[in-house]
């Protein structure tokens, strides 16, 4: 390439504008963009650019921009480039690369393929699942079912909803605990407590799916048999005030009270108090045992999150005082929403109240905070998807929505709206498919948000799907 050949090219171009690039430059070797490595490409462009500067002063800006972006793009992941940028760069490349090849495309493209292909991939996805990646599942944007929940006590610090292993929901509305059988949709009233001890401030199914523990405003805790409808036992004197949180660990019923105490009760024995965890100064409203049953997470109105260790507690001979494993003070508001990760042990998600609005992730083995995401709204409850690496959070004002997050990227997958007041409680069906949410608007809504569990699933295969697949119609 010498200057002479360029100027002759340009002058002849001016002379014969009809035929675009009449002169063949240089030798017979054609320019082959795709075969050359990008660095080679680049150098040839660079020399071309220098040559053009004196002749076409307007072009050097484009050239410079192209070269700059090209260089950066090489470092970046190509997939990140936006289509419009890509087009611009291609156009620049086309205009700036004065090569000896003309690239032609046949104008009359086959039209039918549009439909044909679409049908094809549909049938393809259905008949050859191995050939196509797992399509993104469809998440219904509206509730599957809405039930009325009148007389619900709209109190952030209570826990009034639970879904037992026998597929029955228990809901405390005022002084009454109702049951809703999810398998046939039948409702029944389990019990109503007296006005002077009510209302019911917490309900929790025992792991057997038959017994229900209910915490009361009077500080009593009642144990009911749901099949016979009998009151089995009343635990008295555990707390000094209302019992807003309950958690089962086999035959241990852990209770959290407004007095800041957390008590392990062995429901089988007469003197039921096994241990007391003292660490919270104010009401305990979040209480969850880890999947292994070794660690207990508790959150309180004092903005504290505690991790307690069962084995540490039991090795401690005196059943009076137990020291927490970790005291986590990162939340700026009440910690009510707690969820242990089902697929990664020692991973806990916690959500803060309206002054905090954050979802935080913890390694409870080390006490290290892994991540924190500001959701922009009060976090009332958290649920992990048992089938996918996803987390569902429920929120208060202004949207009163349920948000589905991809973990660990914390990309929002879906926002489910419908509730008109803060979504106080969320529980998951035993099969992990359906989520029930109970909100201050006195409705109980069922969402088919977590999808059906699939038995054989290859490793995560979602990122490669294009923008259209979020509206996928493929099951």
């Amino acid at each position: 390439m010498d200057a002479g050949s360029f100027s002759s090219c340009i002058s002849s171009e001016k002379a014969r504008p009809a035929s675009r690039h009449p002169l063949r430059e240089g030798g017979s070797r054609p320019y082959m963009p795709s075969l050359l490595s990008s660095s080679k490409d680049f150098s040839s462009r660079q020399s071309g650019g220098d040559r053009f500067i004196p002749d076409r002063s307007a072009m050097d800006f484009d050239m410079a921009y192209y070269l700059l972006t090209e260089r950066r793009k090489e470092k970046e992941n190509a997939a990140a480039a936006s289509p419009s940028k890509g087009t611009y760069r291609r156009l620049l490349a086309k205009n700036l690369l004065n090569n000896r090849t003309r690239i032609l495309a046949f104008k009359s493209k086959p039209q039918a393929p549009a439909e044909g292909i679409l049908q094809e991939t549909h049938s393809n996805a259905a008949s050859h699942p191995s050939k196509s990646a797992k399509p993104q599942r469809h998440i219904p944007q509206s509730a599957e079912r809405i039930l009325d929940a009148p007389d619900l006590v709209d109190d952030y610090y209570l826990n009034l909803l639970d879904w037992g292993s026998s597929n029955v929901l228990s809901i405390a509305l005022g002084n009454t605990v109702h049951l809703w059988d999810a398998s046939d949709g039948s409702t029944s009233e389990l019990f109503t407590v007296d006005e002077d001890v009510g209302p019911v401030t917490s309900v929790s199914w025992a792991p057997d799916g038959r017994h229900i523990a209910a915490g009361l405003n009077s500080s009593d805790i009642q144990l009911w048999d749901s099949s016979s409808g009998n009151l089995l036992r009343t635990l008295r004197g555990v707390h000094g005030s209302r019992v807003g949180s309950l958690a089962w660990n086999n035959n241990i019923l852990t209770t959290g009270g407004m007095d800041g105490k957390i008590v392990n009760n062995d429901v089988r024995v007469r003197s039921h108090i096994v241990q007391t965890y003292r660490g919270h100064q104010r009401e305990v409203c979040g209480l969850k045992w880890s999947g292994s049953g070794q660690q207990l997470a508790s959150g309180g109105n004092d903005n504290l999150l505690h991790i307690w260790d069962l084995s540490m507690a039991s090795s401690n001979s005196s059943p009076g005082q137990n020291q927490w494993l970790y005291k986590l003070e990162d939340h700026m508001a009440t910690v009510k929403a707690l969820a242990w990760c089902p697929f990664q042990s020692n991973l806990l998600a916690s959500g803060g109240g309206s002054g905090d609005r954050c979802i935080k992730f913890w390694n409870t083995r080390t006490g290290v905070r892994l991540n924190s995401v500001d959701t922009g709204s009060q976090v009332c409850s958290l649920l992990w998807n048992k089938n996918e690496r996803e987390l569902l959070s429920s929120h208060g004002s202004t949207q009163n929505q349920l948000t589905l997050w991809k973990y660990p990227s914390m990309v929002k997958i879906a926002e489910l709206t419908g509730h008109t007041s803060r979504v106080l409680f969320m529980v998951q069906s035993p099969n992990g498919r359906t989520v029930a949410s109970l909100a201050g608007d006195e409705t109980l809504r069922f969402w088919n948000v977590f999808g059906t569990p699939e038995a054989p699933k290859p490793a995560a295969k979602t990122a490669s799907t294009g923008p259209f697949s979020s509206f996928s119609h493929i099951r």
């Binding site: 890509g86 090849t101 690239i103 046949f106 104008k107 086959p110 991939t121 990646a133 295969k461």
Partner: protein
């Protein structure tokens, strides 16, 4: 193909051009079938190159490839065709996912002086067969096309070629940082066709 010379081992420019353009027609069909760009049921089997090849029955694709190959053979006869690229793009985003390159080197002496060369049909057929087998086996390593795709064909011609009425100038539709696999080549002694497939990096394993 009637133009191919009668005597078995002599090959003319016309005959070579016919072989190459016909090869491209079959190769394009095979790619569209094997990469699932068009539904399987829209293809029928025919015997060719000692293999059973699949040809599309979709009228629009058929006429597209038909008019394409006739134009290609015209350019091939003139020695103006440098390369043919079959591009597979995402229908939704138009992102280029695969490029099938057929690089063509033409023996300039044959074009200029009209001489012929010697190579048996059988030998050429064997070489083409090897490429076709490779195309069919490529699905083992190419990333899955898990979205609806469209294809396009680009012809790289010499600059002095007048643009035919039905053709437009196009960009190269390149892939950023592609993976490349070179396939076999075949040679009619007049046209040498090198095949190469480049595809978008599948970055699953790096995550």
């Amino acid at each position: 193909m009637a133009s191919r010379t009668a005597s078995k081992d002599i090959i003319t420019l016309r005959g070579s051009a016919a072989i190459v353009s016909e090869f491209f027609g079959y190769a394009a069909n095979s790619i569209l079938y094997n990469r699932g760009v068009y539904p399987e049921e829209s293809f029928t089997k025919v015997k060719k190159y000692g293999l059973s090849m699949l040809l599309t029955q979709d009228e629009s694709v058929k006429s597209f490839i038909g008019s394409l190959t006739s134009q290609l053979s015209e350019w091939l006869e003139a020695g103006k065709l440098q390369r043919i690229v079959l591009v597979i793009m995402s229908m939704a985003t138009s992102e280029v996912l695969e490029r099938w390159n057929f690089n063509i080197e033409t023996d300039a002496e044959v074009v200029e002086k009209g001489v012929s060369r010697e190579k048996s049909d059988k030998e050429i057929m064997r070489e083409i067969q090897a490429i076709m087998r490779q195309i069919a086996s490529c699905i083992t390593y190419l990333p899955c096309l898990d979205e609806p795709c469209v294809f396009d064909v680009l012809a790289y011609t010499d600059k002095d070629v007048a643009i035919p009425f039905a053709w437009i100038e196009s960009d190269a539709k390149l892939i950023q940082n592609p993976q490349m696999v070179k396939l076999h080549s075949f040679d009619t002694k007049i046209h040498k066709v090198d095949t190469l497939v480049s595809y978008k990096n599948d970055d699953w394993d790096e995550k």
